[in-house]
């Protein structure tokens, strides 16, 4: 047995993303996940003789838009091909796909792993139709629901540029953010809108030679967590097999398809690639080719929005947000749009960012709605941030104001006056509250002056008492300063 000392994982992915359209790729049947079995089917998606498919324009444009956002070149001319496939979930006995001229090719895509930038090349992205569902729970037979048959999918194929399970995880999550930001997919993992097939092998350096294990393709994973687990498992498995047998390398052992068993946390051998299907692609005579003019491509390109990765980085560098807050805000495009608007309307970036996450997003989460659905407009959010930054209201009062703003449409400055929340900057008034608090809490005063162990707690207590006497309106900074001064006096 040899011990592998230097191991470099080589990981690429095929991803199927369900595009967000109302109807299927080649017929007018509605795309609906939870419809009763075989109630969203017609002669076209059932592959009945004499029917002809007609392409869905929105699916094509969404796929082109996603291709552009992935940095790909969009083909000016593309066509449809038949991929032979013999399972009852695609009753035509072929899948309509794109073989030699994919809609999009040759892109790069950026993402971040714990704040450091990464890049992956995109080999191609093409449109194809989904298969239906085979249900195997009944003994002795298979039941088939063809509602999903013909649903538009974007298949994205990356180059093997990823070097770890964590990087792959981050890439998959970023891809979900991208397609959601573009609005081309709901990318709901629960509904199977994104399915991943990582291909994994490792380069092992040993005695000045490099050994590469055969490539394992792990089929059909539908969660980010499982992608990470399956890759980690594969890396360990392949290294272990190679350590037992140094002939476990490309050329001597065959590539293989494996399946992820989530219950046992292992991948299982399905078949060697030598037995892989010969798909016998050929151009689909039922469908006409597609030519995309400059004008069409231009109008699709006009729908491109700032990619979430760039937006996050901008929020951090321009607005001074922490990467974590930037990530939280950019997770949802309307939320990020609202925040941009808040800044544009003069919200001071740092305070506005903190308040946005800690106050407004929290309210939204508590209510189970998006922050854009709270009924609080960008202008009022910006004004509250400004009032907080300028010291017109303190933090506690700002929170109370936010509560009021949720139920009333007044501007925060009017509400602050009405509710008596405007911060008192008057030093004399504040000094009187300090005197009162000192008189009423002799023990704390003495601790703060003479007991080093209790000093901090006592000062904090006195500060709280002063704030209470002020009805929450005192400026905490001024209070702190006056308490310090008062403690120095005998």
């Amino acid at each position: 047995m040899t011990v592998a000392t230097k191991v470099r994982p080589i990981i690429g992915l095929e991803i199927h993303v369900q595009l967000r359209t109302r109807t299927k790729l080649f017929c007018g049947c509605e795309v609906q996940t939870d419809a009763p079995p075989n109630s969203r089917v017609c002669g076209i998606c059932l592959g009945h003789p004499g029917t002809l498919p007609v392409m869905n324009r929105v699916a094509l444009e969404s796929a082109a838009l996603a291709g552009m956002a992935l940095g790909c070149e969009i083909a000016r001319f593309t066509k449809w091909d038949r991929k032979s496939y013999y399972y009852p979930d695609l009753p035509k006995n072929y899948q309509i796909s794109q073989y030699d001229i994919p809609l999009a090719a040759g892109g790069t895509f950026e993402f971040d792993v714990d704040g450091s930038p990464r890049e992956i090349r995109i080999r191609r992205a093409h449109l194809e139709e989904d298969a239906g569902k085979n249900i195997h729970d009944t003994p002795g037979c298979t039941l088939v629901d063809l509602n999903r048959t013909g649903t538009p999918l974007l298949e994205i194929v990356t180059e093997p540029d990823l070097a770890s399970a964590d990087d792959t995880y981050a890439f998959c999550v970023e891809l979900q953010r991208l397609v959601r930001h573009l609005g081309v997919s709901e990318a709901d993992m629960q509904k199977g809108h994104m399915r991943f097939e990582p291909n994994v092998n490792v380069a092992i350096e040993h005695n000045g030679r490099e050994y590469r294990t055969p490539i394992a393709e792990v089929k059909n994973i539908n969660s980010f967590k499982f992608v990470r687990q399956a890759i980690s498992y594969e890396i360990e498995r392949q290294v272990a097999v190679w350590e037992e047998n140094n002939d476990y390398v490309i050329g001597k052992a065959s590539n293989e398809n494996r399946g992820w068993d989530a219950d046992r946390g292992v991948t299982e051998f399905q078949r060697g690639k030598e037995a892989a299907h010969d798909y016998r692609y050929f151009p689909d005579p039922d469908l006409l080719p597609v030519q995309l003019s400059d004008e069409t491509l231009g109008s699709i390109r006009a729908q491109l929005v700032e990619r979430p990765v760039q937006r996050r980085r901008r929020f951090a560098s321009e607005y001074g947000l922490s990467m974590k807050d930037a990530e939280t805000i950019v997770e949802h495009r309307p939320t990020a749009d609202l925040f941009d608007e808040v800044i544009k309307l003069g919200g001071p970036a740092e305070i506005a960012g903190k308040q946005f996450v800690n106050v407004w997003l929290k309210h939204a989460n508590d209510r189970g709605v998006a922050v854009t659905e709270l009924g609080v407009e960008a202008a009022r959010i910006a004004e509250l941030a400004k009032m907080t930054a300028e010291g017109t209201v303190n933090k506690t009062a700002a929170n109370q104001l936010a509560d009021a703003m949720l139920t009333r449409s007044n501007c925060p400055s009017a509400l602050a006056k009405e509710l008596g929340l405007v911060q008192v900057q008057d030093a004399d008034a504040t000094a009187r509250w300090v005197d009162e608090a000192f008189a009423a809490n002799q023990q704390a005063v003495s601790d703060a002056r003479t007991n080093p162990k209790k000093m901090q707690a006592a000062i904090g207590f006195l500060r709280g008492q002063v704030m209470k006497l002020s009805g929450g309106k005192a400026d905490p900074k001024l209070v702190g300063k006056l308490i310090e001064e008062r403690l120095q006096q005998p």
């Binding site: 359209t21 109302r22 109807t23 017929c27 007018g28 049947c29 509605e30 009763p36 079995p37 075989n38 109630s39 969203r40 089917v41 017609c42 002669g43 059932l46 007609v54 392409m55 869905n56 324009r57 929105v58 094509l60 001319f77 066509k79 991929k83 032979s84 496939y85 013999y86 399972y87 009852p88 695609l90 006995n93 899948q95 796909s97 194809e128 298969a131 085979n134 249900i135 195997h136 009944t138 002795g140 037979c141 298979t142 039941l143 088939v144 629901d145 063809l146 089929k219 059909n220 399905q270 078949r271 299907h277 010969d278 016998r280 151009p283 005579p285 006409l288 080719p289 597609v290 030519q291």
Partner: protein
């Protein structure tokens, strides 16, 4: 004219890919028949196409598409009326083994 013979092994391979079970006699028969068909189509190789653009479709048409508007689907009863077997509005087929996604 060039001729190409399809051997019995190729016929078996293609039959397997298409999930068709064929007898030895059928394999021999189809090998001979398919060889003739391939030879017939092979006549096209006599044409010099070195200066001809590849054709994606015989019709001089492009960009036929429809808007993303739903049209009525069939009812499950209509969808299943020609199915040899069905169960609870599903198509019922012999047990599928070794399932693979396309």
């Amino acid at each position: 004219m060039t001729t190409r013979n399809l051997d019995i092994e190729t016929v078996r391979h293609v039959a397997h890919l298409a999930r068709l079970r064929i007898s030895d006699e059928e394999a021999a028969l189809y090998a001979a028949q398919l060889s003739k068909i391939v030879a017939y189509v092979d006549q096209l190789n006599e044409v010099d196409t070195s200066n001809v653009e590849p054709t994606a479709h015989p019709l001089p048409l492009m960009n036929v598409w429809r808007e993303d508007n739903p049209t009525p689907s069939w009812t499950p009863q209509q969808a299943l009326q020609n199915a040899p077997q069905s169960q609870n509005n599903f198509f019922r087929v012999p047990k599928v083994l070794d399932q693979e996604s396309p």
